[in-house]
């Protein structure tokens, strides 16, 4: 087992354990913290896939932004200390069976698929450069649309949470 393998295993384990924490924790705060662990794990996986930029974005936006917002939402809707009250998990047996079924189906689908052989040696290249080119070249239209979406989100978030004076 090479160092890269060990790294992958560690990161994958981090991601999976974190995700399990999100799914099984009784305490919403623990869920949130586990989510952070999972997100870090995924970011690490991105690094092993030589996608540095994506990893960086993952950490900055997910951990820095999404998670903080989530935590705030938890705090603002629950109060910090009574959060465990309303993180019920309902129908875990049914859900477990269903997801397990899906898991089996997907694995089977994966193993039966015809994958393209990977190129022998992938040249490592700074991903930021390539992504930047792609975003402003080939994908410039989606990129612009994305900015519109974000604007809409901005406005939407404000509208949704605005203090309603009319009522």
């Amino acid at each position: 087992m090479t160092a890269a393998d060990a790294m992958f295993l560690a990161l994958a384990a981090t991601a999976v354990i974190g995700a399990a924490g999100v799914a099984f924790s009784r305490h919403i705060l623990y869920s949130a913290l586990s989510l952070m662990v999972a997100l870090f794990g995924v970011a690490g996986l991105f690094v092993t896939l030589s996608a540095d930029f994506v990893a960086g974005v993952q950490v900055l936006i997910y951990v820095g932004g999404v998670l903080v917002i989530t935590l705030f939402a938890v705090m603002l809707t629950q109060g910090i200390q009574n959060v465990e009250v309303s993180n019920r998990a309902v129908g875990s047996v049914a859900a477990g069976l269903l997801t397990a079924g899906l898991f089996v189906v997907l694995l089977r689908a994966m193993s039966s698929a015809q994958w393209v052989k990977p190129p022998a040696d992938v040249p490592t290249q700074t991903s930021t450069y390539g992504i930047g080119n792609a975003l402003l070249g080939q994908y410039v239209l989606p990129f612009e649309v994305a900015s519109l979406v974000l604007l809409a989100v901005l406005v939407g978030a404000v509208v949704l949470t605005r203090k309603e004076t009319a009522e």
Binding site: G91, L102, V105, T161, K163, E164
Partner: protein
Amino acid sequence: MQAIRWIVLLPLIGAAINLTLGSRIQRSAGRAAVAVFGSGMALASFAIAVTGFMRLRTLEPESRLLVDTVLPWLHVGTLDISIAFQLDPLSAVMALVVSGVGSLIHIYSYGYMDEDPALWRFFGLLNLFLFAMLTLVLGDNILVMFVGWEGVGLCSWALIGFWYKDHANTAAANKAFLFNRIGDFAFLCGMMLLFWTLSGLGHATLVFRELGAVAPLLEGQLLWGVPVVTLVTLALFIGATGKSAQIPLYVWLPDAMAGPTPVSALIHAATMVTAGVYMVSRLHCLFSMAPVTLDVIAVTGAATALMAATIALTQNDIKKVLAYSTVSQLGYMFVALGCGAYAAGVFHLVTHAFFKACLFLGAGSVIHACHHEQDMRRMGGLRTKMPLTFWTFLISTMAIAGLPPLAGFFSKDEILWKAFQREPLLWGVGLVTAGLTAFYMFRQVFLVFFGESRAGASVEAHADHSAAGAHDDHHGHHAHEVHESAAAITLPLVLLAIGALTAGWLGIPSALGGSNLFTEWLAPVFAAGGEHHAEAHEGLELEYALMAVSVLVALGGITLAYLVYLRKSLSADTFSRIARGVPYRLSFNKYYVDEIYYGTVLAGTLALSRALGWFDKVVIDGVVNGAAASVRAVAFLGGGIDKFVVDGLVNFTAHVFDSAGGALRLVQTGNINAYVYVLLIGVTAVLMAGAW
């Protein structure tokens, strides 16, 4: 010489042990163990000081300087300070007085505090005080002196508030510390200015023995257009007014009498309050260069002496009288310093230490015997019941009144003589003060020890006069219990009284055929500062005449006191009604200085503090919270949550029942999880179909 450090360290060890383990020692080994240990440390320190003194005497007068460097303390940039002690004629005198009188008072305390459960704390603090005071006098540089300077403030605070359960005592303690702190602040500023000026001249030092040599370099240095040396000495003098209770910072000392009487004797009469005098003498090389400061010192000293003496005339509390008398005598010493007669000032310091300590301890003996009664209007007739106390008290009173051949006569006359040479007006003020001193001190003697016992006499809270003898009743329930105090109390009294009788003989002026040993002893110290040795060029006749006048004035004061308080041929009322009683009320109410300070400085500071506290909470935090609130208003929590909660719950309940209705709507549950289930089942099914 390594031994010097032990003069300082032994009391510290005593303090450390008594303050940490004292209560256990007292419980297991008894009260005497604590007292013996504490007193032993003080006595040992005294013994070492005596050996040091002897050692000094064997040296040539010019080379009488022993230095003991303990530890390098602070070495940053040009600042290089060691913890070091020096013994020279001046500090040796001070160390002997401090440890000597201190030891006596330790012994006295064992008798005086015989009922107090916290004896260990008392002895621990007394030892700590000795440590701080000895650091002050033995320190070889200004910063080490400052350690002692503030250290005695701490001990003073702890001992004034020794009986801390009484709110008034702790208030007095805080007052003392704060007024001292104001002085310390000025002291600190003076020290910094001195250091940087010298540093700028390439001689960064705060060591006393080096200051004499570099001080002349300060000539001509200006800051803000004023000679630096004047600013430095003025700042240091303000520090001295705090510690030595001079105008304008004297008000804490009378209140400090709230502490146990041995404390008043040791700290607030004999030693700590003289620290300012010592400091000025120690730094005479600077003060001599600043004539303006010397003038300020002389005037302040004279004004304080007079003002405190006038206040002392009308006080009824036995200790308050002595307190104001102390302030007044300290004023005397500053007059001497202001005239450049440092040796005379220190001489009066020494004699004053003896007779004032004796007076306080005598007062303590009286108070102790009278079961902590301090009002002189409820005393009287103790002469026969407490003969030893009476005689020692009388000797000390005569000494402070300046009757020859007691100690006070020589030291006071030397000051008056120097003052006359400098400025006859100062002498005039000093003379008046001397007369007043004789009057109020004998008033005290007559009220306390003569006449009939007035124990239990009802005294109006705002009694306008002290002639309480008029309504004298004999059912004083304390009277029959009053008896002479124990040996632990009387022994120090006797020893101090002997001192009060004889200490003056050390400095008999040449005019009276003496050799003025004291001045000669200190001469090597003050020689460098250029003390005026204006020897007798105005003639011996004048000196004799002045002596005679001052003795006459003192006798006049005594006679007046006798007429008013013993013969009662003059009524005190006639004096208190002069000018519609305005002078009397001013004196009785201490010129309302406390009230003025309270109304201006203290109230102002508190008001400013409250205003800033409000500003901080309302304005600054308000801005922050306001910003946060506006963000929140946009982002999250509207103010109307509560309203919607109620409405929401009502709606919610209504909907629950409503939705229970339609059967068709069962599929459309509105439950998100249900939707996800359906979705997921569909997806899995499709994938299955594809995979297999």
